[in-house]
């Protein structure tokens, strides 16, 4: 048993403190310590992207990052998307364009898409496909996910929310 470290992480706008083993993966901190289970685990090898969260605004794979590294930093997960009870355009887009089926990859997929749109508000289809290339989906074939991101881009452009 290694020495525990006290960490404070700003998770979806709220400070979360805990004493953690150094080896605790961020994804387990989010799911098991903070109890926010919207972030999923789909593989062992940093391939699938189901665990994607935003670290200080940048998408990372929370299965390949230690909770102790997140000390003093900001994490945003799918639970942080909704705003004053209003869905984020990216959430609307996924529903409107049928961008999800089983829903397991969706939270991570939306976080990658969101980060893409913040960097590049008007992405081409190719840029969208590259932007979500770190996230696997087994159900949709990505076509409607691309549409969902385009929907969100348009919505966010209108300045609706955000």
């Amino acid at each position: 048993m290694a020495e525990k470290h006290h960490i404070r992480v700003r998770l979806n706008g709220v400070d979360k403190e805990a004493d953690v083993e150094p080896r605790l993966l961020l994804v387990h901190f989010i799911r098991d310590v903070a109890g926010q289970t919207g972030t999923h685990l789909g593989c062992d090898t940093t391939n699938c992207g189901a665990c994607t969260v935003l670290l200080d605004g940048r998408p990372i794979k929370s299965c390949t990052f230690f909770a102790v590294q997140a000390d003093g930093r900001e994490i945003m997960t799918v639970e942080g998307l909704i705003h004053d009870g209003k869905l984020h355009p990216i959430q609307e887009g996924f529903r409107q364009e049928h961008g999800l089926q089983c829903g397991f990859c969706t939270p991570g997929m939306m976080m990658s898409a969101l980060a893409l749109l913040e960097k590049n508000p008007e992405p081409t289809e190719e840029e969208i496909r590259w932007g979500i290339s770190g996230n696997l989906c087994r159900c949709t074939g990505y076509q409607n996910i691309v549409k969902a991101v385009q929907y969100a881009a348009a919505k966010m452009h209108e300045g609706v929310l955000v």
Partner: protein
């Protein structure tokens, strides 16, 4: 997949980090981007007793031009290299290399220092830096030393870094006028290691004759490989189809791939030849501009 137990320490200065490396010796590993190390720990293929997290050390992440060099801090994230306007415009070969490493999320954490120091022949920067004849700046107990990249990769997973040294900077000599470079990688899918990759950097004189050529190969040997015979072959020659084909053949001879799930060795050799052609053509085109 759960990593084994380890102790974690996050120094704020390089001297601190170095003394920790000396203190814990072989039991310690540096945690930079962690995108190669953490997966190995989760599979319990790697089990360092100590992780020394250098991410809190200031001024290790930068991209700048100074003293005739492009200087990239060891802790610079691949995503920042990919996004750098300076690199995109003046060093497209480095941009092309960074953008095909792993995937967007991994590139947000992975660092160029880690990519090189890991010494994995499948990592992409090695070939590119060999083509660019870069220098690696290692910082240890006795301060800094510069290691020419061609002496850096020693054998599989093994570099010239001493155990108590940290890769703090990579230096690329500013290319002369009429220089151009390109990196071509074939991967089975986005995020995969290269089946083979080729980096090429050339400098032409006013008559389009090649005065300098650098060629690096990814994942076709125990280390990234500098195709020196191919380079020599090109020097003093025009980069026409015939000479490019000749150099490509040479590069193929210099590659030492082994067969694996990515394909048989002979295919990889064929790829080296083909990708060398493409990289040289693109490089020449860029140099001509």
């Amino acid at each position: 997949m759960i990593p084994p137990v380890f102790e974690y320490v996050r120094p704020n200065t390089i001297p601190e980090a170095v003394s920790l490396l000396q203190l814990h010796g072989d039991d310690a590993k540096i945690l930079s981007g962690g995108q190669s190390l953490i997966p190995m720990m989760k599979l319990r293929l790697a089990r360092p007793a100590w992780l020394i997290d250098i991410n809190a050390i200031p001024d290790l992440a930068y991209i700048r031009e100074a003293d005739g060099y492009l200087q990239i801090g060891g802790l610079t994230r691949e995503a920042d290299i990919e996004a750098s306007e300076l690199i995109r415009s003046k060093y497209p070969i480095i941009h092309e290399t960074a953008r095909v490493i792993a995937d967007p999320q991994v590139r947000n954490l992975a660092t160029i220092g880690g990519n090189l120091a890991h010494g994995d022949p499948a990592n992409d920067h090695g070939a590119t830096m060999l083509a660019l004849e870069a220098e690696v700046i290692a910082t240890g107990a006795n301060g800094q030393r510069s290691i020419p990249i061609q002496d850096f990769f020693q054998s599989i997973f093994t570099t010239a870094l001493e155990h108590d040294e940290i890769l703090t900077e990579i230096r690329v000599p500013a290319p002369a006028a009429r220089s151009g470079g390109a990196y071509f990688k074939l991967e089975r899918k986005v995020g995969d290691f290269a089946t083979a990759g080729v980096a090429a950097q050339v400098t032409l004189d006013s008559n389009g004759v090649c005065t300098k050529a650098g060629i690096g190969l990814t994942n076709v040997g125990p280390t990234a490989i500098k195709a020196v015979e191919a380079e020599r072959f090109l020097r003093g020659k025009k980069l026409d189809a015939e000479n490019i084909a000749g150099a490509a053949r040479q590069a193929m001879e210099e590659s030492q791939p082994s067969s694996d799930l990515r394909g048989p060795a002979e295919y990889k050799k064929g790829l080296v030849q083909e990708l060398t052609k493409r990289a040289l053509m693109r490089a020449a085109e860029r140099a001509g501009r």
